[in-house]
């Protein structure tokens, strides 16, 4: 078990390292002066030269590369072009804000989706089944940013139930630390993007669980469990659902990837100050150090998700041995 964990952690680091290296060389493929990725070309040439020396950009490429990797390992992403502040300062709460939007809705969607999917498969619920499947397919196919806009149109502007965007009422400041996230004003702002995200992420586990349950119900061990005289509830929860959950665990990384992609567009629609909104803005302003940092942090999220999914899979399926 320990060696499995260590190997998985090692591979995680390798994945991040490969991606960081790819980023380094990708940004040096930019047309024009390669240092333009680190020093704003808008500056006076003398100032550029000073900055080049300070950032070590007058050194050969391989030395720059080593310095870049060493800095990344210390989570030092350099300085923002736009504000000249350290990138880590620019990012600040952005990662936490994204997680606040992403994780609760993802967990809720997984649990509720699995339950609904299992239920409609178990009951073989005729017309209801068809309606739910069609609705889920349509909702999954609808662009999530558009669903968000429609939700604002209806719930915020028409019914005036929720604010149209941002994380707190303009003019107010968020309290620092964890307590800031429990502020009723923040939760009120979170509600609509949460539900939109939830609805978007709900469909995939629901449809997958339904298919998986339909396949599991036909298996012999379900008949056996029934013959043993177990209650329907126990057959459903202990035997059918537990086995049907396996494909859900394996596809968790994929869904997390969608969720990260979804959060970029949802943050844009709701002006939610997370990583995605920061990244989109930074690309528009050619603030490459910030773009790179946002990318690496989303990569970290995705890779961690894969790692957790692996652990979950092992916990669900005792046949998997961690050699």
């Amino acid at each position: 078990m320990t060696s499995f964990l260590l190997r998985r952690l090692g591979f995680m680091l390798l994945t991040l390292f490969v991606m960081a290296s790819a980023m380094f060389f990708l940004f040096r493929l930019l047309p024009g002066d390669p240092t333009a990725t680190v020093i704003s070309p808008a500056l006076h040439p003398d100032a550029q030269a000073v900055l080049k020396a300070r950032f070590g950009l007058d050194k050969p490429l391989w030395q720059q590369y080593l310095a870049y990797i060493a800095n990344l390992a210390r989570l030092d992403f350099g300085y923002s072009f736009e504000t000249a502040r350290p990138v880590s300062e620019v990012i600040g709460d952005r990662l936490a804000n994204t997680l606040l939007l992403l994780l609760p809705s993802l967990i809720a969607a997984y649990v509720v989706g699995a339950l609904i999917g299992a239920f409609i498969a178990w009951r073989r619920a005729g017309a209801l089944d068809t309606i739910i499947v069609v609705l889920a397919t349509a909702l999954q196919s609808a662009p999530v940013f558009w669903v968000g806009m429609m939700a604002i149109l209806f719930f915020s502007l028409h019914l005036d139930l929720f604010p149209v965007g941002h994380i707190v009422t303009p003019g107010r400041q968020m309290e620092p630390g964890l307590m800031g996230y429990l502020d009723p004003d923040v939760l009120h702002h979170l509600a609509l993007p949460f539900f939109v995200n939830f609805a978007y992420q709900l469909c995939f586990p629901l449809l997958l669980m339904r298919t998986s349950m339909l396949a599991t119900i036909g298996e012999d061990f379900i008949d056996l469990a029934r013959m043993k005289g177990l209650s329907e509830r126990k057959v459903l929860m202990r035997h059918a659902m537990r086995n049907a959950l396996l494909p859900l665990a394996t596809t968790l990384p994929m869904l997390l990837g969608w969720a990260v992609a979804g959060s970029v567009v949802i943050e844009t629609v709701f002006s939610w100050p997370g990583l995605g909104l920061l990244m989109v803005g930074a690309v528009e302003r050619n603030d490459y150090p910030v773009v790179q940092a946002c990318f690496m942090l989303s990569a970290l999220l995705t890779v961690m998700g894969t790692f957790i999914a692996d652990l979950l899979y092992g916990a669900l399926d005792p046949r998997i041995a961690y050699e």
């Binding site: 999954q140 196919s141 990384p253 990260v260 990569a299």
Partner: protein, 289 residues
Amino acid sequence: MRLLLVSGRQFIRVVTATTTGKIALAICLLCLVIGVFAPWIAPFDPAQKHYEAGKLLRLSPPSWKHWLGTTSLGRDVLSQMIWGVRPALLVGFSVALGSAIIGANIGLLAGYFGGRLDNALMRFTDIVMGVPFLPFVIVMLSVTGKGLWSLILAMVLVMWRASARIIRAQVLSLKEMPFVSAARITGGSELAILYREIAPNILPLALVNMAFTLAWAITTEASIGFLGFGDPDVISWGGIIYDAFASQAMYRAPWWVAPPGIAIMVLVSAVYLVGREYESVVNPRLGGR
């Protein structure tokens, strides 16, 4: 060539076997026809600004002349919608085809030769699995500049990962089949066995994956358009929503922002359903219908 014809016929027979499949396929074909004949179907030039009594026809609600109303720049929404089919399908099909070719080859080589090659290719696939998709496409576009083909390239670079794994698993079981040993005994070279004997058998699975990639690529193209990273010279559904969003008129003009979203939802659902109908028959793990 004959093989493609046979697979194509099987594909149509399988998909049209159910009502859902028939409707979904009809929607896909309708979009294809609209996309091909867009210049003849669209009532106006999508970039043309319309005037009424010398004044720009801003945000006009649907009327007989403009069925879906006009944009904040006085452009005809319906014409934009019709032209928007083109990039959706072009990006969708190119990405699906490109990812299928790369993914199938990696899956075939890794599954068939096994050993070190398999290990190396699959670890590489695992690394690509960790790439956050939309952020990667955004980074690539910021490096290469906005454009339809840069977008396609960026998407293909990541999207092949799903089919590579699935096809490898299929090849692993196929290579133990008697017809493979038969081909070996008759003196076929390794590559000939791989591409002449095994590859045709993974074609249905590759097609299923292409359908799902196609659906996902259309959604992503729309997301990129919505974020404002779409090709500025091309009218796309995501771009229409972006224009509505950026002009801040979207909440006053539902006729402008609703159609592109509905169009994406309908087309993506249709593609997805076609893929699922086909998969329910050809995927051995689902055990037929």
